[in-house]
Each structure stands twice: as C-alpha cells, then as structure tokens.
C-alpha cells in the first residue's frame, strides 16, 4: 500500500477576530501547528517498512478554508532529522485501559435524548435552538465589538510610543479597522504580512519561515510546475527544512491550479495501478 497524501487539520480561524492582528495570527498559528504535525507524520511514513516502496507524499496543513501544501520525497534531508518526541504518542497500547465498556455504554445512554416528542414539540425545540444560537451569536458579536474598542484605544496609545516598522504595523491594524463582516481582505493581510516580515527579517529558529514568494498568499503556480517542482524546493539556508507553499484559500484560482496539479499526479498513480490489475 502507498499513502499518496497526508492532511492535518487544526481548528478553523476565529469567527470574531478582535482586529487584523488577531485574524492574521488565528490563521497562522493554526497552519503552523498543522504544518509541524504533518511533517512529523511524513517522517514516520518514510520510516515505516510498510511503505518502503513509496517515494513521494503530498502534505496538506489546513485550518478552515485555508491551507498550505508541500511535497516530500524520500531523498529529502528533512528525513535525516528525528521528529520531536513530544509529537509522537504511544499508539495501540493496551486497548480499553481505564475504560469499562459497561460504564461507557451507560454514560452514552445518559447523554442520548430518546425522542418521544410530538412534531409540534420538535418544531418548538428547533425554534428554541435557533433563537439560542442567534442570542449567542449576538452576544459574541457584542463581546467582540467591546474587545475591538478596547484594542483600538490600546493601539492608539501604543502608536504614540512606537517607532519605525512597529508603528507602521500598528497603523495598518488601525486602518484595517473592524472585519467586514467577519473577515479581512487579502490586501490588508498582505499589507500586515509585508511589515511583519521586515520586522522579523534575519530571525532564525522557525524552519518554516522560508517561502518561495514574499507574499502571504501563494500566487498561482507556473503552467509547467508539477508536484516534482514542489518536491525539489529547498530552503537555501537549511536544506533539512521542508518548504511549504504560502497560504492558499480554498476556491481561489491558486487553489484550483494546485488542485489540478495534485490531481494530475494522482491520475498517473491511478493509471499505473490500473495497468497492473
């Protein structure tokens, strides 16, 4: 068997970002976490004798509608480094330890609502649930608005003492204002990212900081690029790092192009497998 693709998901970005800064980090922190985990998974894949004949794997790190891609080949030097021990858990240990099946069944039964309600009662419950959801949503929006007002006044204060790029970054967050209606345009995110990158230029330590392009969102791939192009990407200052694409948003033209690229690769695998059957 082969495993042509691994995907690691993290929780979706926040629905009520306080400001552009919160929105940006909500996406980045989830994708960073997913990226690091999917890297560990790829290392285990290539360490396992079960998959000894496989040479390539597509890696997807995702959160909500955002994702980053990488393609890892068996020859990559990333495989010479071990994943951090904390990333690996004991699997398939003693099954059912601390779990008594009778207790589990009883707990499950206690949580289930046995439906003996009339259609009218069910409709009433549905309406109640909807009203409750609307109330919660409103409350969240109010809280988010209060948090935004507070953050805005703090930013204004910070602005008076900040200098240079930090000041520019604060100004961008202030100018971006509130999310419309629950998100920020790509342009605001790119503006934020550009200054953020300048502030952190030269900082070492984060292996996934290297990107092919200076933008936050990955541009469309060139027509001749294939999964092999991605597999051959290297970080010039650390050839043991796996190079992921920038952020891709599902449904964007970039996403469609990468989707076609992976599909072409999978079709090749499928055609070969079919010819063997």
């Amino acid at each position: 068997m082969e495993v042509p693709l691994l995907e690691e998901k993290k929780r979706p970005p926040t629905r009520h970002p306080r400001d552009l800064d919160a929105h940006f980090w909500s996406i980045v922190s989830a994708l960073d976490g997913a990226q690091s985990q999917v890297t560990t998974q790829a290392k285990i894949l290539f360490s396992s004798p079960r998959f000894a004949t496989q040479d390539l794997v597509v890696l997807v790190a995702s959160s909500g509608e955002y994702y980053r891609l990488a393609v890892l080949s068996r020859g990559h030097r990333a495989l010479a480094t071990l994943p951090p021990p904390d990333d690996i858990i004991d699997l398939l240990g003693t099954p059912g330890e601390n779990l008594n099946p009778i207790e589990v069944a009883a707990a499950l039964r206690a949580e289930l609502v046995v439906s003996g309600r009339s259609p009218a009662q069910q409709e009433r419950q549905r309406l109640d649930a909807m009203q409750e959801a609307e109330r919660t949503e409103k409350e969240k929006q109010n809280n988010a608005r209060d948090a935004r007002a507070l953050a805005r006044s703090q930013r204004q204060e910070e602005l008076s003492i900040a200098h240079g790029l930090e000041r520019e970054l604060s100004q961008i967050v202030i100018n971006a204002s509130d999310p419309k209606p629950s998100s920020y345009s790509n342009d605001w995110i790119e503006a934020y990212y550009k200054i953020y990158k300048q502030i952190h230029a030269g900082n070492r330590g984060r292996e996934h900081d290297f990107l092919r392009y200076p933008t936050f969102f990955e541009p469309e791939p060139a027509p001749h690029e294939t999964v092999i192009t991605l597999a051959n990407l290297r970080n010039p200052s650390d050839d043991r790092a796996i190079v992921f694409t920038g952020v891709i948003r599902l449904g964007s033209p970039t996403s469609d192009r990468f989707f076609q690229m992976i599909r072409r690769y999978l079709s090749t695998l499928a055609r070969f497998e079919r010819s063997q059957r």
Binding site: L6, E7, R15, I44, S63, I88, E137
Partner: protein, 117 residues
C-alpha cells in the same frame, strides 16, 4: 472547484464549520466534512483506486521487522500518530493462481454479486 455540486457542498460545509449552533466550540473535527469534499474531488474518476481514510494510524514498532500478519494483540511499543486524513492507494495483486486478470476477477465477481473473492 470542479462542479456546481461540489461548490455548493463546500459552502454548506464552511457554513457548518462556522456555525454557532453546530460548532459552538470551533472544533476541528467538524472541518472533516470540508476535507472529505476536497479529497472526493481529488480522486474523482479514480474511486476504484484510492481510499479516503480519516484518523489513519501511522506508526513504527520494533515488531515491524517480524512478519506475523495474523497477530491482533496490542503492540505497546508502537509509536506514532493518527493522521486526520490520509489518501490510501492499496496495491492490489493476486496471490493465488488465476488465469484471469485481477480486473476481470473483480468484474466477474461484481456481476455475480460474489464477495467471496
């Protein structure tokens, strides 16, 4: 996105992921719906080749070196992770002598509703 149907179902999945009723706690597992839609499109036309597997266990174990396929007892030394979604490609081949090709065996068994291959 390949088709209108997939576009619609992707939007529905996103609405579910961001829903205050069905995903109050912003859990990642609700997002599995979107992953499955994405993977379904990726393998469209090749459903006879690939399997979509949520929570696929990837691990290494000292037992990897021992060929004992029928052992079902726990392996306390296995170390690994569960992958949210893996695309699997089972390499199918025949181990016993049969003059038909595997694809022909599948077709024949399918037309006869015979699952005892």
């Amino acid at each position: 996105m390949e088709s209108l149907a997939y576009f619609i179902v992707s939007m529905l999945s996103l609405a579910l992921i961001h829903s205050m009723v069905y995903n109050t706690r912003r859990l990642e597992t609700i997002g599995y719906t979107l992953s499955i839609v994405f993977l379904q499109q990726l393998i469209a036309g090749h459903e006879d080749i690939f399997l979509i597997c949520p929570q696929f266990p990837l691990y290494v174990s000292p037992r990897d070196e021992e060929p004992s396929p029928d052992v079902t007892m726990p392996d306390p030394e296995a170390k690994g992770v569960y992958v949210d979604h893996a695309l699997l490609l089972p390499r199918a081949s025949q181990t016993e002598g049969n003059r038909l090709k595997l694809s022909q065996v599948f077709s024949q068994a399918h037309s006869q509703r015979n699952q005892d291959l």
